[in-house]
Symmetry: D2
Subunit: 338 residues, 4 copies
């Protein structure tokens, strides 16, 4: 019963099949192949407007290139204190941006509020002596399983626009958020003010396929250069393109996320008395205490502890391919430690 | 008849099979899976000593992380004027290193000589006012199809050692060089003074699998951090590890390179009167003049022109899967324009 | 009655005289002149051990070069939330270091405690996924007028040593701290574990003279390069050297600081009922409320408000040349608003 | 007889006097003082249009901030192979720009030609795989004592405009060029297409006063941030402002340069048979051979050898305060070795 992370999961058979299918004959390198060329079109259809899509090797790359493209080196990227770009990317945003600063905000469920954003902007606008607020980054879903509503993002987008901040969305688990919200991708992103989206597929069934979806065409050239310069332009582009095309085809991405969200809801129900947060997507945060966690482990569950050391809190992540048996057994365990 | 580049080729069936094979069940993320953990061992066996292996998404990343790990920001990386790191990576080495300078040398077949290196070091050691020579980077095979002999590399390694330069080898086509030389990988690298090797597999049959082979253990921690920080640590590491394991298994990498080298030799023979350089690996440089190139194109050949615009020179690259039919037909064409 | 900052003050006559005195005949450029060459010797005597001294144009440069020399680009520099390097240098530390992260700590009087440092290190040691704690920076005096005791610095130095962090001291107002403590410069710095000191003279009577005092000889070469590369190596080095030599001569630096500290103490006494912090050096923080501040302004006082907007708090800084008349009048005002 | 460089000279008495004059009372910090505020006005009058002026501590800083403001990190700055920014600034342009590349051109007298520039642009426009030509930097006077005519700069400016390159002028010895040309500063700079000028005063009589003169208002905000972030915004701005104001007053800058240019012309006449280049400003390049140089040294002359080691070539730089006696004696020596 591995609930450590959805990146421990294998790839979906449809993804493997697609990758195998394109493996024939010569194809132009560096994204000039026929499949890579389809990406803009397919994503534009998905997002109901013209977009440019830039595949990269990891979510860290997607996030850092995005952040760097929204801030000058002397800028600040405002984000939640628990944001992946702050905590888990070894300073990638700082590296790619040439030394921008991450300015941190608090907020329940690892979400930032429009008010907190407004306040952080005001606090950091001190002229030439301080860095200049230039961008805001939100995670959707968040690192605590939170999901911004369309209205929440729109309000953040509004504050960002007024303060002339670019708005980046870290969508490492974007599919899970879209499913949770039951909204169109466009509503959750550019219609709410998002400029750049890190569109993740790896955690939800791909091998290694992440993309920057660019809604602000003025940034496209810069992103293209940053991608090449950082070694994230694949020479054999067809293989990453194939993954993403298969991911979108017949809404595979939503099907997979719907499944993991649904199974996570079962876990959450079983763990209801000691849930840390509402479980809206495929992440479930529980706080049964140290003894509770020990009991889960003794029962065969594998997961990461979360929060401050010794807090007795844990994160359970349901993968796209998690077995029903896993879930059933885990539910039993979760109930048993109530 | 596509001779544009070996990165237009598909992946070898063995590689695809390996990737499919590891696609089952959960596996630890970020290189902690069982396959990734085999890499150090397998490459250590291959290189006849302890090495550390760091997979990345592209040759550009391997080169730039290597260069950055061998030079301070105020250092100079000495390389050939036609080196890939200078011409084709959008300034990746400068980006990763925090602004080091590439100092360029000339030399036939895009090779640098020990004498040229010595001279370049001397010319650039001007104290604090200039950048400090810190590393040298050689391509094996070179961007002109040249192959350094073991003795040549050793002499460069000797100069590097005396001048306290790190020595990096860009082995995007390392397999082709090893086959051409008929030497052991160890002899071509660390025994000759190489500190870091960009070990390329993508061009020679992989999907996307490049690795930094680290012979200088003191650099390993730094490389690990630079990789993570630049977004080149794959979360689902098993898939890139599987490619490399398959690549080495039963000497697949040498088998594939032997084939492409051999077919290239046939092209070279057919083009003998107007060869630009000896064709030692899977690259053939020809200079039949503009009319000659036009005739080849008219005959169905696809390739890049090379050198100064209008020079009537071209590069033909033979891929691991190039068909015998392609080669035969191309040989005929090449003879016909003599 | 200008109490905005000690950097609004002119230069001491001794400094101007020294600068004028060296202005004769040719002198070697770039620090090879006879006066610059004295710096190492004079500062070594002052600090009772061999040191290397690097003059730069500003405290920001001294701090940023120091920070960069103590951390790799993927490192973290731990400092107080109100540290000058965090709040007032437009991201200089991030720029010079190639994108290191400042990790912030809280603490009264803008001082960090050994315990807070220990905790911050522990919280940020999460392996390759996060930045790596590499250095700690303390301000002496602090941005809230705090002064670390020798014992406090030693304990921080001890934690730093155990955690393998470099220790930087921002001594923009180092003279005021030394006077306040009545200790030897050596006791306050390297004997307590400080590796690099930003030694400020500008605020305390110089024109523009700041220096990095390097106690860790292994860093000297790197600092020299960083200084040159950032344009902080003066070509006519004699003029900055002359300032520093005069600053040290006959303890001018201590004389000036003693005076401003003493006058500040008078202000503090007058403002005793609403002091925010103990006034140990030449900075006095008062919190008489909005009306009180308005009354001070109406009485002719000029100063910066401090803390959150509208908090009714202010900072009064006494300059080396502040007139007794200013102080007397200001004391009267401060008493009048009790 | 010190002819090593004009930066070995002291400061002009007018400069020292000005600095002393402003040393009274409190003055706003960070360029908000009354003298700093005059700079834009005075330089605007000098250049016959609105300009923004940014003082910095060194020519290296002026050059590097300028270069960085004209190129993205993935850009190329095109300059002469012997340019100061390439050879003598320890990679400052690379540092400030976040890793841009300097692309080198050849040309007599260290001047670049419009044709060479055009060719270099064309050669480096290879799409996303190479860095992108973004700026060109010319030195006026050049590192070989060359002086671009207004027409030459205009033609370079025209090529730059067509290729969408920013044009930077390194005017470390701008005064000497203006005197040599007998043209208005405006004609030599913005009217000819220059976007940013490093306006040097240090070599020609100041203590340490260099300025970026910004003709492209859209870059001003960026330059202001880069200056602050690199520690080049002086807190006591009055002292550098005073130097520059005095430098311009009554055309002191031209008077001083006229003198040194004139004295250099005498040296050049005496060295006519073995001049390397026409001596148009205050630099004289001679190539009397190794024996000739030895004779000059034996006669008491101090200077740098120039060009490749052992070439028997030297540079003589005349300072603003060089004595007539020095010149007379040197002329005698120069004639004696004919």
């Amino acid at each position: 019963m591995n609930f450590r992370s959805d990146n421990t999961a294998p790839a979906a058979p449809e993804i493997i099949a697609a990758l195998t299918r394109v493996n024939a004959g010569a194809a132009a390198a560096y994204g000039e192949d026929q499949w890579s060329k389809l990406l803009d079109e397919k994503f534009s259809a998905l997002f109901e407007r013209d977009v440019r899509v830039f595949t990269v090797a990891s979510g860290t790359a997607a996030n850092a290139i995005s952040a760097a493209s929204l801030t000058p080196p002397w800028g600040a990227v405002l984000c939640h204190r628990e944001a992946h770009i702050e905590c888990d990317e070894c300073g990638a945003a700082e590296f790619y941006s040439g030394g921008a600063k991450l300015v941190l905000m608090d907020g329940a469920e690892a979400k930032i509020s429009p008010a907190a954003l407004k306040e952080a902007v005001a606090r950091n606008e001190r002229g030439i002596h301080s860095v200049k607020p230039a961008a805001v980054s939100v995670s959707q879903t968040t690192e605590r399983g939170g999901v911004y509503t369309v209205s929440e993002i729109s309000m953040i987008g509004q504050v960002a626009k007024e303060a002339e901040l670019g708005l980046h969305m870290d969508g490492a688990r974007f599919a899970n958020a879209v499913v949770a919200l039951g909204k169109k991708p466009a509503d959750v992103t550019w219609r709410a003010g998002v400029d750049l989206l890190s569109f993740g597929a790896t955690k939800n069934g791909a091998i290694a396929a992440e993309a920057i979806v660019c809604f602000d065409m003025a940034r496209a050239e810069e992103i293209a250069r940053r991608r090449k310069r950082s070694g994230h332009l694949f020479s054999k582009g067809r293989f990453v393109a194939a993954q993403l095309l298969a991911y979108l085809e017949d809404d595979l991405w939503l099907t997979l996320a719907k499944r993991s969200n649904g199974l996570a809801a079962k876990l959450a129900e079983a763990a209801a008395p000691y849930l840390s947060h509402p479980a809206l997507s495929n992440q479930v945060f529980i706080k049964p205490g140290k003894a509770g966690l020990a009991a889960l482990r003794a029962g065969g569950a594998d997961f990461y502890e979360w929060g401050p050391p010794g807090a007795g809190e844990a994160r359970l992540v349901v993968s796209w391919n998690q077995s029903e048996a896993d879930i059933e057994k885990m539910c039993g365990l979760l109930v048993s430690i109530r």
